[in-house]
């Protein structure tokens, strides 16, 4: 891996020569920390994917042992009595529930947010604003360490007696604390560490963007990626603490036997629970979704930022509607705090409350559509370069479109009544996060790889990765819309067999054999999607030392500041403090000799050929 500290040869003049541990493990350099976040997050992304494949296999073959890894599950996962949680390699209901809960938790909190916000943000934002590092480098290191600790606690929870948390990533009470295992305690403690990590990171990002912009880098000259990360940081800062409070309360319900979320008269297993009662399960839901909704914007905004950067660069044009984009992200940020109860339409809320949240939910779709439209319009008249990052980003647009549009019937309470907690929901949010956010993150990896390593990733294998991922992701999630509309519910280990027409012949709304057969189709698509990531993983590691070397510090011929540094950028990033003279997307400016002008290039006086003829 390329070093952050440039080699100075035999004559070491460096004052801050540090050993391996200080440079690569306990680093305070934002670039190293960004890479650390990326590596850890990609590991968790892979692990969360494996959980999903095992789940999908079990749904398609209820009651049968999982091939290949079944014996491993049987050996490694135990209950408190010492018996296996996966006897004979079969994933039973409780184990399936814990895989499901942890798949969601890992993907959201340990893979996507650290990758989209912390990894890309840490590496790119200080460079793009012309800063030498983050405002608080040691806090940055602390936030990564808190993330690792939280992630470790979550990971270890699989291997404790009785396994990991089982009550969904949403961890609803009273179920979450009524299950008599310790997985939930580990989940709550892990969440507290993860939330702390995000809070520290958010403070750092906002302070950095406010205080450390280079001279001339005004707010409206910031690359759209920086704006997106700025709003994301505010969402994390203000929305996570209520979940932290709720997590503390749920932890107290579990270990101190309080009844914050446990109602009076709660019975568990047919017996009256020995708790004081007086609590409210709805309170948990409100506190959870108060974070939960801004959280989904945390998942998408950095991706939109990456999409903006790559579109401008590969169309050789400024982004269309920069001001609209900026005002839209700010609006999304504010509105995302007042829509949360659209996740709670089925809790028995009255019409007035439901109408309020329906209205705000419909309103928030407006800035989202504005952003997507600006991105689409940016393509018009562009001189498009179809490289790998651009392919991923162009696919993002319709994929996010599908995901977003399928959210509309969910925003309305009358249609959500039918669709809530069905496979339709799973399809909706996975379309946004999987061929949405993850595609943008792939694009970002291919795009910024040459700045980090000085080499390009293979274009050919990049395109193989792109087309196969696009096809298989659609094959996985498209059928789920149909399944959901047919009434197939989420979180069922038997895949809905209990509600099938075979089980209840003549019953109204029984799931057809065709709907159940789709599980096998989806399973094959998921396995193929996994296989399609292999060329990417090989490409990523192989290209570090064997990729085509770049012939300049700015191989994509980009205007933004991160490309105006040495490759890779040294500790401190810029030899001298850059001075910014223009906006972030000065591509194809008439009269210029090149089709791009970096933000910090000094002003030159170009005679205007229309008003002043060029000298003969």
């Amino acid at each position: 891996m390329a070093t952050a500290i440039p080699h100075t040869g035999v004559h070491e003049v460096h004052h801050h020569e540090t050993d391996f541990w200080r440079t690569y493990v306990f680093s305070t350099d934002h670039k190293i920390i960004g890479i650390q976040y990326a590596v850890t997050a990609l590991f968790f992304l892979f692990f969360g994917f494996l959980l999903m494949v095992m789940m999908r296999w079990q749904i398609a073959h209820p009651g049968q042992p999982v091939p290949l890894v079944g014996f491993l599950l049987e050996r490694v996962l135990h209950n408190a009595q010492g018996a296996s949680l996966a006897p004979k390699g079969i994933i039973n209901g409780d184990l399936y529930n814990s895989f499901g809960a942890m798949h969601g938790t890992i993907m959201v909190f340990m893979a996507i947010v650290p990758l989209a916000f912390a990894a890309f943000g840490n590496y790119v934002v200080p460079l793009q604003i012309g800063a030498p590092d983050m405002a608080f480098p040691r806090v940055n290191m602390a936030s990564y360490q808190a993330y690792v600790l939280g992630g470790l606690i979550m990971f270890i929870s699989f291997f404790i007696p009785d396994g990991a948390a089982q009550a969904g990533w949403t961890s609803y009470s009273p179920l979450a604390t009524s299950i008599a295992t310790n997985g939930q305690t580990f989940w709550l403690v892990g969440m507290i560490f993860l939330i702390t990590s995000s809070l520290l990171g958010a403070v750092n990002f906002i302070a950095t963007i406010i205080q450390l912009r280079a001279p001339g880098m005004t707010w409206m000259r910031l690359p759209f990626f920086v704006w997106a990360q700025f709003v994301t940081a505010f969402l994390l800062l203000l929305a996570f603490p209520p979940l932290e409070a709720a997590g503390v309360m749920q932890l107290m319900d579990k270990v101190a036997h309080t009844s914050f979320f446990l109602p009076t008269g709660l019975a568990v297993g047919g017996q009256l629970a020995n708790v004081s009662g007086g609590g409210s399960p709805l309170l948990w839901q409100h506190l959870f979704w108060f974070l939960g909704h801004p959280e989904v914007y945390v998942l998408i905004l950095p991706a939109m930022g990456i999409v903006g950067e790559i579109i401008a660069n590969n169309t050789r044009k400024p982004l269309w509607g920069y001001k609209s984009l900026v005002y839209s992200v700010l609006t999304i940020g504010f509105l995302s705090f007042i829509v949360w109860a659209h996740h709670m339409y089925l809790t028995g809320m009255g019409n007035r409350v439901a109408t309020f949240f329906q209205t705000t939910t419909m309103i928030i779709s407006i800035p989202s559509v504005i952003i997507l439209t600006c991105m689409f319009l940016s393509l018009w008249g562009g001189s498009i370069r179809f490289n790998t990052p651009m392919l991923f980003v162009m696919a993002f647009l319709p994929m996010f479109g599908i995901g977003g549009l399928t959210g509309l019937p969910l925003g309305f309470n009358f249609s959500d009544l039918h669709l809530h907690d069905t496979y339709y929901i799973i399809a909706h949010f996975h379309y946004i996060v999987a061929p949405g956010t993850i595609f943008a993150l792939f694009a970002g990896i291919y795009f910024w790889f040459p700045k980090i390593t000085g080499r390009m990733m293979s274009e050919f294998w990049g395109k193989v990765h792109f087309w196969s991922s696009l096809i298989f992701m659609n094959l996985i999630f498209q059928p789920m819309f149909a399944q959901g509309m047919a009434g197939m519910l989420r979180r069922m280990v038997d895949g809905g067999a209990n509600y099938s027409q075979a089980q209840v012949p003549g019953g109204l709304g029984g799931l057809s054999p065709h709907m159940l057969d789709l599980h096998r189709f989806i399973l094959y698509a998921a396995i193929l999607l996994g296989l399609a990531q292999i060329p990417f993983i090989i490409n990523l590691f192989w290209s570090i030392n064997h990729g085509v070397k770049v012939n300049s510090d700015n191989p994509w011929q980009s205007t933004t500041l991160e490309w105006q540094t040495p490759t890779p950028p040294p500790h401190g990033n810029f030899a001298q403090v850059p001075e910014v003279h223009r906006g972030p997307y000065e591509y194809s400016v008439p009269g210029h000799s090149t089709d791009f002008t970096p933000q910090n290039e000094s002003e030159q006086r170009i005679p205007n050929p229309i008003t002043k003829p060029l000298p003969a």
Binding site: V203, N204, I210, L237, M249, F260
Partner: protein, 277 residues
């Protein structure tokens, strides 16, 4: 590598970096305590009539704690002002006062917590409820083995009383300072373990009021302790920065002071909500 504006403020914002950082952090803390206060409201509004306690907390003691924290906020400003006026000795004095007040606060809080953990609610086998403070527990006391004795100073409530009387009986527990509540006669009560069906102290598990009380004040106390640790560090080992970089050191005192004011402000909300309303 030099990060700009660590000490000198940035001209267009007028702030140095750490100040931006601490204000952002305080914003997140407002959301944290805000969530807990919102939970308090929801739980209290949802409680059935007559079951939300009143007067379980000692108001004079709470008032004393409030004055302790307010004074500590004043001394922390005086400490920062002393540094601004280049008077290191006075800074040391005022900062030490702040730490002492913080410890006093935690001490008084511990006394209040102790009071709750020695206040017993005993469900007797015959259906009545005994409620009072612990006098003594015999050494061989074991509820499961039904052996030993426990002596409390309190009163007994007949939960099986007829409806009109039940409300009055409940008030002796849930509103002990009200007219009906005061009617309860407190005396020394002795019970054998065999007479007791179950018992618990007024800890977080007792009801949602104690749950939210301990969570709110516990989290606040953790912030007091955390702040006190930081202030102690700056008072002791951290103070050597005054010799090498006095402006940066003064800024650190300002930042810790801002955090301390926040901790004080949370208590200003906690005191009326928990003790007075």
């Amino acid at each position: 590598m030099d990060i700009p504006y660590t000490v000198q403020p940035r001209p267009d914002t007028g702030l140095y970096n750490a100040k931006v950082g601490i204000w952002l952090f305080l914003a997140s803390e407002v959301m944290l305590f805000g969530a807990l206060f919102s939970s308090y409201i929801l739980l209290r509004v949802g409680a059935p009539d007559g079951y939300w306690p009143h007067g379980w907390l000692n108001v004079p003691v709470g008032t004393a704690n409030t004055l302790v924290l307010i004074t500590s906020s004043i001394t922390t400003v005086m400490a920062w002002a002393s540094l601004k006026m280049n008077q290191f000795g006075r800074f040391k004095f005022y900062h030490a006062c702040t730490i002492l007040f913080a410890l006093t606060f935690v001490g008084i809080k511990s006394y209040e917590y102790h009071d709750k953990f020695t206040h017993y609610s005993i469900k007797l086998a015959d259906g009545r409820l005994a409620d009072g403070h612990l006098d003594e527990k015999s050494k061989d006391f074991d509820l499961a083995k039904k052996q030993g004795k426990i002596v409390i100073h309190g009163h007994v409530v007949n939960l099986a009383a007829a409806n009109e009387n039940l409300k009055e009986e409940l008030k002796t527990i849930y509103d002990p300072h009200s007219a009906e509540g005061k009617k309860a006669k407190h005396s020394k009560l002795e019970f054998n373990a065999s007479e007791i069906a179950s018992m618990e102290t007024y800890g977080p598990w007792h009801n949602t009021y104690t749950a939210i009380y301990f969570t709110l004040t516990g989290l606040h106390a953790l912030h007091v302790i955390g702040g006190a640790i930081v202030i102690s560090f700056l008072w002791s080992f951290g103070a050597k920065m005054w010799k090498t970089d006095p402006e940066r050191f003064t800024n650190r005192i300002e930042i810790s002071g801002l955090f301390w004011h926040f901790v004080d402000l949370v208590w200003i909300f906690l005191f009326p909500v928990l003790y007075l309303l």
